[in-house]
Symmetry: C2
Amino acid sequence: MGDDKIRNMDQLAVVSGISRPTISKYFQDPTSVRVSTRQRIEAALEQYDYRPNIFAMNQNRKLTKNVGIVVPYIADPFFAEIARNLEQRCVDAGFQPTLFSSHGSPELEREILNNLRLLKPAGVLLAPLGRASDQSAVEAFCVDVPTVLFDSEIQGLGRAYIGSDNPQFSTQIVEYLCRSGEPPCFFEMKNPSNPNAMKRRQGYIDAMEKLGHTPSIVGAEGSGWEFEEIGRLEGGKALASNLFTTNTVLCSNDRLAIGLLTACYEFKLQVGRSHDAAIRVAGQDDHPFSRFTCPPLTTIAQDYDAIAGRSVEALLRAIDGTGAEHETKLFHGRLVVRDSA
Amino acid sequence: MGDDKIRNMDQLAVVSGISRPTISKYFQDPTSVRVSTRQRIEAALEQYDYRPNIFAMNQNRKLTKNVGIVVPYIADPFFAEIARNLEQRCVDAGFQPTLFSSHGSPELEREILNNLRLLKPAGVLLAPLGRASDQSAVEAFCVDVPTVLFDSEIQGLGRAYIGSDNPQFSTQIVEYLCRSGEPPCFFEMKNPSNPNAMKRRQGYIDAMEKLGHTPSIVGAEGSGWEFEEIGRLEGGKALASNLFTTNTVLCSNDRLAIGLLTACYEFKLQVGRSHDAAIRVAGQDDHPFSRFTCPPLTTIAQDYDAIAGRSVEALLRAIDGTGAEHETKLFHGRLVVRDSA
DNA sequence: GTATTAACTTTTCGCGCGTAAAATTTACAT
DNA sequence: ATGTAAATTTTACGCGCGAAAAGTTAATAC
């Protein structure tokens, strides 16, 4: 009965008996109108199932409800997982998140930021590529749009940086490895694009020296985001050349460790902390798959949930202007002892 | 000099000496205007770095250049990888893809489709949840928007379905397993949400019977998308109860197999095809991680690239109206023999 | 009962573009 | 030179909404 489809706010105004501007206000914030008015609007809404035109809304709004989420590589389950978490929180906060992946390419990252500008986002959650990023492009973007960086820091850019306390990661796992066996060598990318890697290296060095051991670092050649393959290939070379000076290898991140585990398998080296094992391997991140490697990977868990939660909080503060000029929050890692070390 | 920022097409029309409607036409298709005109526009564009307002464009366009890509679970690297591939192809074809993940939730999937409608997309690439999907919602959406389904079929919905020839997958790997050792048992989810699982089960049964063996199926309890954990837990139970009737287990998909490998490790069962191994494990999909399990997983590789390529082709045909009423294309799998079986 | 405030309506304007029709220019072949 | 088709301009209109200002109604305070 009379369920003619409604095409715009004017028509909804007619059938609900409320003026269009009031309805407009309702859609911007349902609590900003009188309860009785709200009920009448919502009653009409149920009958006619109308939804406002996004394009017309966003064209005129000074600030949209859009939020951009940019990750460096969506095919990395770590970023997929954290993106999922961020997305949910943005929706809960009444925003409409859009997910972008730079796919490891600085040009694409810049292009994404440029496209994002056109979306007039209320804010952006950005995990930059890191060293490879077009720094000046990111900087310019951060000036124009409230941006919270996470995972990877670029020297004080953005309204906040939320990440992990990487030196603490390395310190914690080095201490564990030293008290449970031989002190670890450190296996990393020779030219890591992620700045966290530098901090982990330094954390390793500091922790080793503090414990009276000599740091020993093995660098893997290669670039890109295929860390498992790099870990396997370069880890294999290191094993063949006996570059690891102890029977324990701490990897800069879990993906590298996963590749190294494969290399160990290929070399028929038994990995683990049992008596008959030949080598111990540990990672950092607690990658979603690390629990399922063979042996399961001992690692330092990033606090995904805390990072995502705090990032969104910081962004909301930046959006409504209650935030500080710049804030930094680093979360501690949690040692996850499994069988690999 | 005079690099005042340009805010709209009118201003660009002034500085370029070309009328606004012509410039509008240029942005819809640069080849649709005279070469000399195009050069003048592009010259002005370089000077002033103007980009049209997306919202105003899309508001009036009957058809936008938006393309939606919907996957059931972005944290599954298989979907992340194929989404990456699809995204690239859409960009190359001049479209602007937006990625959505249903995160395993039928409600969210329906919500995404509803939001997608508001984006007036030229077309949508949809990998539905499968059995769990709100079928009528998907059907209604496919009527309104040119939609290509991939990965998971829903009974002839959409303008095309592009996927894998699942029975062929199972047949091929069953034949390999039988000629290289004991005939395989089949390990799967008892209530799989993905329709491909049914076809793989049937493919297994048919292949076994054709080869004169008795099929033996072990079903795993559980639901959701944490297949590795389900494979580990339920696989462990099956191992403990000796439910696997032969020393060879074919898993319905790689993620289940990865979990089973972990279970085997926990039971100290050596996996592989060497003489001293206790069990052989094979998967299906060639998940990005399968090359790095220990032992590396023998599996049937989905042709990611072909599926993505054909899906986008079909979508482009659906968009410009040159496509058939409905097309189906199934790609064969490629046997990838690694160490696990 | 009047004053005050919040909620709401009305009015008017504008955003930046698409689109359609008619008029005009240009390019090209005859 | 003439005709024709393609390209472009001009003109005019509309999309669906946000925003601001000024007036109106309803709820609360005293």
